[in-house]
């Protein structure tokens, strides 16, 4: 260290040395590495999540079926010979299915063994048979080979989810059933086919008869109500607050409240919905209408905040330009500002809708977390939604519901992807550069 003398001014030069340069390059490389590592970590977690869901869930898209030779005895189905739909509906199809099973395994006798035998096929088999007969009454009097769903336990056995090498008491299917099933398999009387029921039915206590369609329809109805309410109201509020409202204490107060509402836990909106929509207005329980109203309340602040942010990001010079050629404030907003803000508003709306799509807590309060078998046909029918369906199945004891839970999650994710895709397309349509 040398002391600089007073009459000799110090000249400091930038450090252009190789070491300095190397240090800078190394710092940059390190930074880049951290970034890439972070992205890989995130991707890995996502892959683990998706991988586990898909590996457990994909087997739910197939279903084991058993072929039985059914004697469609006219005397049993339609004793009067009228082919009257009412009498066809009244026939005892269960015994017909059971007779066919007894015919398949004539050696089985005794009430206990027979009951085990009958459990090979789904309890919904008699309904399946009835539908076949009703669709084509000409079949009466003939013998047909018909594929029936196996019971869920046998299905799990067939898919390997129930191990064969554990003691009989530790598994849901007993040795006799396994023997019968193997005999059927050897006979070419078993197959795995696409599980249409999963995509067309509502919920059921029997896993092989349970489907997500009821929840999908419920979700669509609910989200439709949410979108139809929260988007226009949210955009109008954002436009008014941002472009027209005077800036005073009242609008400040409103702004603070909207920001707070966005952070309110969703269950609170459920309680509000219970108190207001059900108890005060007397709207029906478990209805997509009420669910949509509650979720719209929850989504509104998000849409308003995103809308205001999008409006704020439109350069003021655009407003000046429009006002300068004599556009009215309304024309300025609707012709210039709003179209430019639309991509941002849509993004915010989709974020809000995606949150609404995954919500169960507020629906708990208004009775939408419920076991509902029928597929809702309107906004006031009892319905449930996909995340609730996932929750209910995750809670069910049967092994077969495990794969259905994951499969329902996959349907939920597909829903989400579709919504995001719609958002991207809409955004691209509105996007303009300036």
């Amino acid at each position: 260290m040398t002391d600089p003398t007073i009459d000799q001014p110090i000249t400091r030069k930038p450090d252009f040395s190789a070491t300095h340069l190397r240090k800078r390059y190394r710092a940059e490389a390190r930074f880049k590495f951290y970034g890439v590592a972070a992205i890989f970590a995130a991707l890995a977690m996502l892959a683990i999540l998706l991988g586990s869901i898909i590996s457990t869930g994909s087997s739910a898209f197939t279903q084991t079926e058993i072929a039985l030779d059914i004697k469609l005895d006219a005397a049993k189905i339609d004793p009067d010979g009228t082919r009257d739909p009412e009498s066809l509906a009244r026939a005892n199809y269960r015994t017909i299915v059971r007779d066919a099973m007894r015919a398949q395994f004539p050696e089985v006798s005794g009430r206990r063994d027979l009951r085990k035998l009958y459990k090979l096929v789904s309890t919904g088999s008699d309904f399946t048979l009835r539908q076949i007969v009703e669709a084509d009454p000409a079949l009466i009097g003939t013998t047909q080979t018909i594929w029936f769903k196996s019971s869920a336990d046998l299905d799990q056995l067939n898919k390997g989810a129930i191990p064969r090498d554990v003691p009989e008491g530790d598994r849901r299917v007993n040795d006799a059933q396994i023997t019968w099933f193997d005999a059927l398999s050897d006979d070419g009387r078993t197959r795995r086919s696409f599980n249409t029921t999963f995509f067309t039915s509502g919920d059921s206590r029997e896993p092989e008869q349970a489907g997500v369609w009821g929840a999908v329809v419920g979700t669509m109805l609910t989200l439709f109500v949410t979108l139809v309410l929260s988007f226009p109201i949210g955009v109008m509020s954002a436009v008014y607050l941002e472009e027209f409202a005077p800036k005073n204490r009242w609008t400040d107060l409103i702004e603070v409240n909207i920001n707070n509402l966005a952070a309110v836990p969703s269950i609170v909106f459920g309680l509000l919905g219970l108190a207001v929509f059900l108890n005060f207005f007397g709207l029906p329980r478990s209805a997509p209408l009420v669910g949509g109203l509650v979720l719209a309340l929850m989504t509104l602040p998000t849409v308003i905040i995103a809308g205001r942010a999008a409006l704020q990001s439109v350069p003021p010079s655009i407003r000046e330009a429009a006002l300068g050629v004599g556009a009215s404030p309304l024309q300025t907003v609707s012709h210039h500002v709003l179209p430019l803000a639309m991509p941002g508003i849509l993004t915010g709306t989709i974020i809000g809708m995606a949150r609404a799509l995954g919500e169960t807590a507020p629906l708990l309060m208004i009775g939408m977390v419920a076991f509902i078998v029928d597929i809702p046909r309107g906004f006031t029918d009892a319905a449930t939604v996909l995340p609730v369906q996932v929750f209910l199945w995750a809670d069910a004891p049967e092994r077969a519901f495990v794969e259905r839970t994951s499969a329902a999650i996959m349907v939920l994710l597909a829903f989400l992807i579709l919504m995001n895709l719609a958002a991207v397309l809409l955004r691209r349509k509105f996007e303009r550069r300036w």
Partner: protein, 288 residues
């Protein structure tokens, strides 16, 4: 006039450019003196406030018809504020308050019976930074005539777009690409597009707030030429921080200082023989 353009470049003029300026004025003066021009815009005792802060103090100014009036003065002296009083653009700033009278064709524009939107169609404005709409060149010009119901069919609008672009000296450059975005043009072209957009609604007065400050000297020269042509049909008020520009394009000049209108008169008078010492100090570059 054209020689003087290339002298431009410094905000604070040195002695050289001031002499360059007086040359430019001489070519203009013959016209100015022969024809008397009636007053188009008359400001009387205008005060403007931003919240508590007063930005204009009793400004009274007559703007003659078919002339270019330049507003000059150091930055922050209220030139833009005064300009924005003339088309009531200040109304859009909530904290801004204007008192006093401004008349256009002897009609008080602050009269409650006046519709601001119609006023802004009569008083066009060109801004400091070119701000075309992010739409096609055609749409930029057609927008004003459309919202004001100035055209019956597509053919009318086409005519208006063409004539406006022609008057703004942009037609030849863009006639084959009217569908392209206005923002894809160069800065100078964008500014001429903004001028075309303003004259498309056929205003009486055109206000320009430092229209060339973001442009290069050649684009500036084009706009200055354009202003000289436009004043045949319009009354122009221009704010400029370049005194050479004021000298080149204007017939009248008003000098603002700290919110006061210090002096106004024929441009030649202001630049060669100012009455006020502050004006003299400013134009000779003693403060800026």
């Amino acid at each position: 006039m054209t020689e003087a353009i290339y002298v431009e470049g410094t905000v604070r003029p040195d002695e050289e450019s001031v002499t360059g300026m007086s040359e430019a004025i001489e070519t203009d003066t013959t016209e100015t003196e022969t024809a008397p021009f009636p007053t188009k815009v008359k400001a009387n005792n205008v005060d403007a406030f931003y919240a508590e802060k007063q930005a204009l103090f009793g400004v009274s100014l007559d703007v003659p018809e078919n002339q270019v009036t330049a507003l000059i003065g150091p930055s922050g002296c209220g030139k833009s504020t005064f300009l924005r009083c003339i088309n009531r653009m200040n109304d859009t700033i909530p904290i801004c308050r204007v008192t006093g009278d401004i008349t256009i064709d002897e009609q008080d524009i602050y009269d409650p019976a006046i519709d601001v939107v119609q006023l802004r169609a009569r008083v066009g404005m060109v801004f400091q930074k070119p701000n075309p709409f992010p739409k096609s060149i055609y749409e930029n010009v057609a927008y004003g005539p459309r919202i004001h119901g100035m055209a019956q069919g597509k053919a009318d609008i086409d005519d208006l777009v063409e004539s406006s672009l022609q008057r703004a000296g942009l037609w030849n450059e863009v006639k084959d690409r009217l569908g392209e975005s206005g923002t894809s043009l160069s800065g100078g072209q964008q500014q001429r597009l903004c001028i075309a957009r303003a004259i498309a609604v056929n205003p009486d007065v055109i206000l320009m707030d430092e229209p060339c400050s973001a442009l290069d000297p050649i684009a500036t020269a084009r706009i200055e030429e354009l202003m000289d042509e436009l004043r045949q049909n319009y009354t122009i008020v221009i704010v400029t921080h370049s005194m050479q520009q004021a000298a080149r394009v204007s017939q009248r000049t008003a000098f603002f200082h700290l919110g006061y209108l210090v002096e106004s008169g024929a441009t030649e008078m202001i630049f060669t023989n100012p009455e006020d010492t502050r004006t003299q100090d400013y134009i000779t570059g003693r403060f800026g």
